[in-house]
């Protein structure tokens, strides 16, 4: 089914090769492993701890290699987890007892450890392919070519490393779901309730370190950093629930593996780099267009509110003018009176298009529909004024401005309540009629 689908579309061509599928598979699993723990890093505002650990494990790897004499994964895990915890511990200790600011402590620790790793590497390891640049960039293609047969499939050997880590992370998160959740949002409360935030923090850091090492060979440390931080941060822009955030982060992690590989194949570039770029691109889109927290979405929302307020101001102004029996206002006067500018002109055009007012030779006229809406607004305004005078004892000349601001946000239930609160008054404090309005 999937393969048929792939065969059908030209642009899915990159996914036809078996190597390509393996790259995507390994990449996706690695990314998911990172994103799972990354959510908690982002929530605890420790994102850069991921960066620090991803770099600082180098001496751990080198030492493990020196002692075990092989690239066997188990000693590498142990060495990396140990140095990862050491990084966390040193950062914490420097901050707590040395009074170094957290970020400086983190930077000092991981750069020094990294330098130590490079020195150890250059000094003691020869003859083996142990390229630091490779630790940085990873070699997804190499990983995809290193396979073993399993039930008729060629399975990448890297899966043996990554899959257990995914399972480990998933198990830890599911088992300690509420503990991690609590300590992510309120470490103090978590500790007082008996779930030590510090212990959970160290556990999380150990998971991060193990995940980093498992991912190095495939995607390199920089993609580890990208996947620890970017998909969770993207998910955070879209969700307000932790469970959804974790799920969405995993989806983005898989998407960046797929999309990144597609880009890499298209441009014939490093897959790991392309995955990081793709993830960054998705984050950028989320920054702009996330429904709740996106920049553009917020701008559009603000614009809509501004337009609505201008429209309502225009309507109620025309209503008051009618009420006073004045001559109809000309369009330009009305627009100038609500502040002028292109927004006000736009608001007036919208009103006209929606049939709330007509433009005649002598000026603007409300349509019956427009008048009804204007009544609603003016009623809310005057009820509010009456309420302010009756219950807050504000002087008469102080009530118009607040009512002017709040009238746009008074709905029918509130109007009913206000009406009750002012004992069904028929007039506002200035002696003007509170217009009746019934749906």
């Amino acid at each position: 089914m999937m393969l048929q689908l792939i065969a059908q579309f030209d642009w899915l061509e990159p996914f036809r090769s078996e190597v390509g599928q393996r790259i995507v598979l390994v990449g996706a699993l690695t990314n998911v492993a990172c994103a799972l723990v990354g959510c908690y890093l982002v929530l605890r505002r420790m994102s850069l701890m991921g960066d620090a650990i991803a770099h600082a494990v180098l001496p751990g790897i080198v030492l493990a290699f020196l002692f075990s004499g092989s690239m066997n994964i188990v000693p590498l895990f142990v060495g990396a987890a140990a140095v990862g915890l050491l990084t966390t511990f040193l950062t914490q200790t420097l901050h707590q007892f040395g009074r170094v600011p957290t970020d400086a402590a983190m930077g000092a620790v991981f750069t020094s450890l990294f330098a130590l790793g490079v020195v150890l590497l250059k000094r003691y390891i020869t003859g083996v392919h142990f390229d630091v640049a490779c630790v940085y960039e990873g070699s997804l293609t190499g990983v995809a070519l290193d396979t073993f047969p399993l039930g008729g499939w060629e399975v990448p050997r890297q899966l043996l490393t990554v899959l257990p880590v995914v399972v480990l992370n998933l198990t830890a998160i599911l088992l300690l779901w509420k503990e991690f959740k609590l300590s992510a949002f309120d470490p103090g409360l978590s500790t007082t309730m008996g779930y030590s935030a510090t212990a959970l923090h160290y556990l999380l850091m150990a998971l991060v370190a193990v995940t980093s090492v498992a991912s190095f060979q495939a995607v390199g440390s920089i993609l580890v950093v990208a996947m620890l931080i970017v998909p969770p941060a993207t998910a955070q822009l879209l969700c307000d629930r932790l469970s959804r955030m974790v799920l969405v982060a995993c989806v983005f992690a898989i998407a960046s593996a797929v999309g990144g590989y597609w880009l890499a194949h298209r441009w014939d570039v490093s897959p790991a780099g392309a995955m990081a770029v793709f993830a960054g691109g998705m984050y950028a889109v989320a920054v702009l267009f996330a429904p709740q927290y996106g920049i553009v979405s917020a701008l559009v929302r603000n614009l809509q509110t501004s337009l609505r307020i201008l429209r309502e101001d225009l309507l109620s102004m025309l209503y008051r003018n009618e009420e006073l029996g004045g001559r109809p206002l000309s369009a330009s006067t009305a627009i100038a009176a609500v502040g002028g500018g292109w927004l006000a002109r736009w608001a007036q055009a919208m009103l006209k298009r929606r049939g709330r007012l007509t433009v005649a030779a002598d000026g603007l006229h409300l349509t019956p529909d427009g008048r009804e809406r204007a009544k609603r607004l003016v009623r809310g305004h005057r009820l509010w004024e009456a309420y302010l005078v009756k219950h807050l004892g504000l002087p008469l000349d102080h009530v118009h401005a607040p009512a002017d601001r709040v009238e746009h946000f008074i709905n029918q239930p509130l109007r009913d309540e206000l009406q009750k609160a002012v004992d069904d008054a028929q007039q506002d404090p200035h002696g003007r009629e509170i217009p009746e309005f019934r749906l």
Binding site: P101, V118, I222, A226, I229, A233
Partner: protein, 446 residues
């Protein structure tokens, strides 16, 4: 000779870089933006690649301009993300860092495909090529150092304000955003110039370590900058020297041509480890803020507090018999204040060695010097108690504990002032001795 002059040139260059990065980095550390240096050095990679593609050569200034461009772009991106989204600063830095670096890796694979030989490899970018430093690079470093110096001198007070109290700076009407950008921009310039020499990670270290270490030696910004610059410069020179052939010959390490053999350790990591040694020794051994100094100070304070407790207990037990100095048994002391016997013994031995008490068997007697010291301690204690009773309205049976906590911290002028004020208000009881009477009963038997 020639080899040594090359070494000297490189040492000069790395020292200049270390000094500049140290001084500018101090501001980054104080501004809690230490990891911006890390981000900048990662974000430079795509710029370097683009510049390389455009210019098709490895002109250092051209590549630096490219790096600077993407570095500034990265700073802009972080600023925008922090200001207008719910993403926090740490995540923003991480996102920009990894995405830009990913883009750099992508561009790099394009560069390496399209050009032959003579390419800027990732390896060189990551770890720098200290050994490849030329005279023109040293000139560029001198120019950068002067540029940073001018910026720091010109904007000294603005940067100072920004580093310690941004909100106050904003309230005073300083353009904090613009100043921040200038500060980070200068940092970007230094980072970019240093990148080809020490590499990405290690450049971040050059920015953070000297400044973070210097902070321990002085509380004065100008002096912190100077210490950071000197430490950074020294780290550069010493690290380069350690990597040079000379010490290798001295210590019987691998004698190799400078940077030629794959096994020889590149200077970059050694520079960083030297800087790390400075940082660590600052954290531990700085005279006032260092961990050891603070631990010692605290230990001294604890010793003094315990000694003063002992003296006051002895005074209170001796008080009924003054001006005689009676012998007091250890059991009396234990009943008076909860000590356990071994620690009391230890405290008494310390007091004896200071000539404050005389001991034989299980009896203790204040020496004249000890009596004077004990009287002084007790005077402070009682004056504070009287002050609490008369001015803070605290019940007399509640003041002993409070005074017990604070008596060790009261400076002599304050105690004198307290005495004068209490005397002026007529609240010092007339006493045969010059010590006020305790406002509460002394619990002679525990």
């Amino acid at each position: 000779m020639i080899g040594q002059s090359i070494t000297f040139n490189i040492m000069l260059g790395t020292a200049l870089l270390g000094a500049t990065a140290g001084a500018i980095g101090t501001f980054a550390v104080l501004r809690r933006r230490a990891l911006v240096g890390d981000m900048l050095s990662h974000a430079a990679l795509p710029g370097i690649c683009i510049a390389f593609v455009i210019m098709e050569n490895r002109n250092l200034i051209g590549l630096s301009l490219g790096a600077l461009a993407t570095g500034l772009l990265a700073i802009g991106a972080v600023t925008v993300i922090c200001r207008w989204t719910r993403t926090k600063e740490d995540a923003a830095i991480g996102i920009v860092l990894s995405t830009f670096f990913g883009a750099g890796v992508v561009l790099l694979s394009i560069v390496q495909r399209n050009t032959s030989g003579n390419q800027a490899g990732l390896d060189k970018f990551l770890f720098g090529e200290t050994a490849g430093m030329r005279a023109s690079d040293v000139q560029l470093l001198i120019a950068t150092a002067l540029f940073s110096l001018v910026i720091v001198i010109a904007l000294y007070k603005e940067f100072q304000l920004l580093s310690f109290d941004v909100d106050f700076a904003a309230a005073q009407g300083w353009p904090t955003l613009a100043l921040d950008l200038v500060m980070m921009g200068t940092l970007a310039v230094v980072t970019v110039v240093g990148l080809p020499i020490v590499g990405v990670i290690l450049m971040a270290a050059m920015i953070i370590l000297p400044g973070a270490g210097a902070r321990f030696w002085t509380n004065h910004l100008g002096r912190t900058l100077a210490v950071a610059a000197i430490a950074g410069g020294a780290a550069g020179a010493v690290g380069t020297f350690l990597a040079s052939p000379l010490p290798n010959q001295w210590f019987g390490w691998q004698a190799a041509e400078f940077g030629a053999s794959r096994r020889s350790i590149p200077p970059g990591p050694l520079i960083v480890l030297t800087a790390a040694a400075f940082f660590l020794s600052s954290v531990l051994f700085a005279p006032q803020a260092g961990v050891v100094a603070r631990a010692l100070a605290e230990l001294r304070l604890r010793l003094r507090i315990s000694r003063e407790h002992l003296l006051r207990a002895l005074y209170e037990l001796s008080e009924p018999h003054l001006p005689d100095r009676p012998r007091i048994t250890e059991s009396q002391l234990i009943a008076h204040r909860a000590w356990n016997r071994p620690s009391l013994d230890w405290w008494l031995r310390r007091a004896e060695s200071k000539g404050l008490v005389k001991r034989d068997d299980h009896d203790v007697q204040l020496t004249p010097a000890g009596l004077a010291a004990a009287a002084e301690v007790t005077r402070t204690h009682r004056l504070w108690e009287l002050f609490l009773v008369s001015s803070a309205g605290i019940a007399s049976n509640h003041v002993d504990r409070d005074a017990d906590d604070v008596e060790h911290m009261l400076p002599a002028p304050l105690v004198d002032e307290l005495e004068q004020r209490l005397a002026a208000a007529g609240k010092l009881p007339a006493m045969p001795s010059d010590l006020p009477q305790s406002p509460h009963e002394i619990w002679a038997d525990g």
